[in-house]
């Protein structure tokens, strides 16, 4: 079908930025306002509710810290994949992307354990303002990680055949953004107590 052949519109670049990367930037911009709105409301509630601190003290800083490490490392893999793609080494890029996705999987697994622990201790979505924000913020971020992993595996399977290498950089950009969001979620949810 017509999607098989790319329209010329897709190959032009009046801005000098390749179309694929351009749309990635716009997607990131739109994500900024979504996460930004949520974070802004969380911050103003948090500042208005000093008592949330004791709820926050139940979060496991070490789990959060380790997850940050995992994401940072996966970001490293993603950017290495980009480098490999620039060197037109598709298979290597694919390997690194799969590694990145693996990092995402590890991240989600740890989160899973964390949440089961929280829930066993009786801290669920509806048990107080902090916990509501905790689950919504981390959950929304988790969804982005999941989506990133899936797209990444698709891109990887193309890259392995040396196809669509420009997508390696784009998914990398998205992944770094998700990483940055977590860089701010970590202190907001796990350190500020």
């Amino acid at each position: 079908m017509s999607a098989a052949v790319k329209p010329i519109a897709n190959t032009r670049s009046a801005t000098g930025i390749p179309t694929a990367r351009l749309i990635t930037w716009w997607v990131i911009a739109s994500e900024i306002v979504i996460f930004g709105g949520l974070l802004a409301t969380y911050i103003m509630h948090r500042l208005g509710h000093p008592e949330w601190a004791d709820a926050a003290s139940h979060t496991n800083t070490w789990a959060g810290a380790f997850n940050t490490l995992v994401l940072l490392t996966s970001s490293l893999c993603a950017v290495m994949a980009h480098k490999a793609a620039d060197a037109h080494d598709g298979p290597k890029a694919a390997k690194l992307l799969r590694l990145t996705a693996l990092g995402g999987l590890l991240f989600l697994t740890i989160k899973g354990f964390e949440w089961t622990k929280d829930i066993h201790e009786g801290f669920v979505l509806s048990s107080g303002g902090f916990w509501s924000f905790y689950y919504v913020l981390a959950g929304l971020h988790g969804l982005h990680v999941l989506a990133g992993m899936i797209i990444m595996l698709v891109v990887a399977s193309d890259a392995a055949k040396n196809q669509e290498l420009q997508r390696v950089e784009c998914i990398g950009l998205y992944w770094h953004f998700v990483d940055i969001v977590w860089i701010f979620l970590f202190p907001l949810l796990y350190i500020a107590k």
Partner: protein
């Protein structure tokens, strides 16, 4: 570069239902929007009948109980803004015009484009499905203020409220995808030679509207997630007894809701600019200034939102700031309208149907604009807030936007869309039959609003003083006018479908217009341009001195200007 990609002619399913062709997706958006408009119009008929002839059986609906009244009012608002104005103005015209006007063969991301329509369709179906669930559709006004919207115990439509919220959220996702696609396409896929200031205004404005939408919708999407959890997971984001705050939703909603006004206004302004330029045979007066004012409006629209909340319990001191910013936004808007009027100066104006609609837009929108001042100034808003004055005001902005300018666009580009001309006489009948009743509907409402009629009140019988039978004749007048306006839409529908077959063939450029979409056959083939064009000048070069004809197509080399374009 100029060789065209081979597009295989797809089969029926892929052509009409699964198409990635921007023109087909535009049609899908347009017809979905029109269908929703009929539904929204029917609801308007229902509650106006209740206002005009209280507590009588409404033909085709039955008795309007308080609950039904709230539901119908809510659905009218939501549908008309989210499922009519946005799909037609931004998605339909954006999809159809952008690739044609910037001279490329399709959107940059056709499959994202298709997905965006499919999600939009899904959102519409979700909304309509709320009419079938227990408790009926959501009735808490299109602003959906919690706690009313957050708890089924309060709004008595637990399922309807959830479905309404999901539908709106899906609709946002659809337009985020579509809008980002528009933006990227326009930025990257322009024909060689088309510089920033050679882009037609309508494309500029649709793209800017998409960007404004993208920047303003984010927080509300987050807010919608929170409201959804309040409804379904018993969280307390908006529940004051659990550390939440109902005002938060109002802020998030209006932080989106006010820019939304300009999201739909800008494409309308763009359409009008195109039409006025063509039928006045004039360059738009101060093209760049129009753009600067647009940017100014776009930015200012982010700092005025709380004027919807003057008396909503926000800190009174904040009202002063928002009152100032609100009145300041009138500065660029006025400038823009002045420039449009100035465009008429020195032209040679022919009043074909599209031009009638375009001029009608300017004339009516002026009224909507100036009445906004009463509401933007905090002092008078204390009294006018939530009265019919507000209703009349924003209908004097939204009807020109979502009805009048849309008809200007449809009548103007119909030849390009379907290759045939609309019937001129029927078009003029439809114009006067729409615009005159429109004023007769809403001028009385200005009066009843000034007299203190509150909106969303299904019957004034309860209010010994406010019921004021003396004003009933105004309410009835408005209702009857609405009946006229609605019935005249049949003329349009007939004209639209009759001309599909019987209209006289249009040819590539019936209006002798200079933008790129008129250089291709009508309707444009799959892939639009047989040979992708190169652009040599701005979009509105009419009456160019030394040119053989009074318009200079954008893709005509200067050398060829003198002997004009080969017909």
């Amino acid at each position: 570069m100029s060789t065209q990609v081979q597009h295989a002619e797809p089969g029926f399913f892929h052509k009409y239902l699964w198409s990635t062709d921007h023109k087909m997706i535009a049609m899908q958006y347009m017809f979905t929007g029109m269908a929703m408009a009929l539904i929204g119009g029917f609801f308007a008929y229902v509650f106006r009948m209740q206002q005009g002839f209280p507590n009588q059986n409404v033909p085709g609906f039955g008795l309007v109980t308080p609950g039904k009244y709230n539901a119908v009012v809510t659905m009218h608002g939501s549908i008309m803004i989210f499922w009519v104005a946005m799909p037609i103005l931004i998605a339909a015209f954006g999809n159809f015009l952008i690739p044609l006007m910037i001279g490329c063969d399709d959107m940059a991301f056709p499959r994202i484009n298709r997905l965006s329509y499919q999600i939009f369709l899904l959102s519409a179906l979700v909304l309509l499905s709320s009419f079938l669930v227990k408790g009926g559709p959501f009735g808490g006004a299109w602003t959906a203020y919690p706690p009313l919207s957050a708890s089924g115990a309060y709004n008595l439509t637990p399922a309807g409220a959830v479905l309404w919220l999901i539908a709106v959220a899906l609709e946002f996702v659809a337009f985020l995808m579509g809008g980002i696609n528009f933006t990227v396409t326009t930025m990257n896929s322009r024909a060689p030679g088309m510089k920033m200031y050679d882009i037609p205004l309508v494309v500029w404005m649709i793209v800017l509207a998409s960007i404004i939408f993208m920047c303003s919708a984010g927080p509300l999407i987050a807010g919608a997630v929170m409201l959804l959890f309040d409804q379904t997971m018993s969280t307390g984001f908006y529940d004051p007894t659990r550390g939440g705050d109902p005002l938060l939703w109002q802020h998030l909603f209006w932080f989106f809701g006010h820019p939304e006004v300009y999201v739909v206004l800008l494409p309308a302004m763009g359409i009008v600019a195109e039409v006025v330029a063509v039928f006045a045979r004039k360059k738009v007066f101060g093209y760049k200034t129009v753009l600067y004012t647009t940017w100014a409006v776009g930015f200012l629209s982010f700092v005025v939102w709380a004027h919807h909340q003057f008396v909503a319990g926000i800190d009174p001191r904040m009202a002063n700031i928002f009152s100032i910013t609100t009145l300041m936004i009138s500065v660029p808007i006025t400038e823009m309208v002045f420039l449009y009027i100035a465009t008429l100066y020195g032209g040679s104006i022919t009043l074909d149907t599209p031009m009638l609609w375009a001029l009608g837009f300017i004339a009516e929108f002026l009224i909507g604009g100036v009445t906004g001042i009463f509401l933007g100034s905090s002092g008078t808003d204390i009294y006018l807030h939530d009265t019919y004055f507000v209703i009349a005001h924003f209908h004097y902005t939204f009807v020109p936007i979502a009805i009048i300018s849309v008809f200007a666009g449809i009548t103007f580009w119909y030849p390009k869309m379907f290759g045939r001309m609309l019937n001129e006489t029927l078009g003029k009948i439809h114009f006067w039959g729409t615009v005159i009743p429109f004023n007769v509907i809403f001028i009385p409402l200005f009066i009843t609003g000034t007299a203190g009629d509150q909106r969303r009140v299904y019957s004034y019988a309860q209010f010994a003083e406010q019921s004021r039978p003396a004003l009933q004749h105004l309410r009835t007048t408005s209702t009857i006018a609405l009946l006229f306006m609605l019935s005249f839409q049949l003329v349009f529908l007939f004209n639209f479908f009759w001309s599909l077959r019987n209209g006289k063939t249009a040819g590539p450029n019936p209006w002798r217009s200079s933008t790129l979409e008129w250089t291709v056959p009508s309707p444009p083939p799959h892939g639009n341009f047989a040979e992708l064009p190169t652009v040599y000048r701005g979009p509105y070069e009419y009456g160019l001195p030394g040119a053989a004809q009074d318009f200079a197509p954008q893709n005509l080399p200067d050398s060829a200007l003198a002997e004009g374009m080969k017909a």
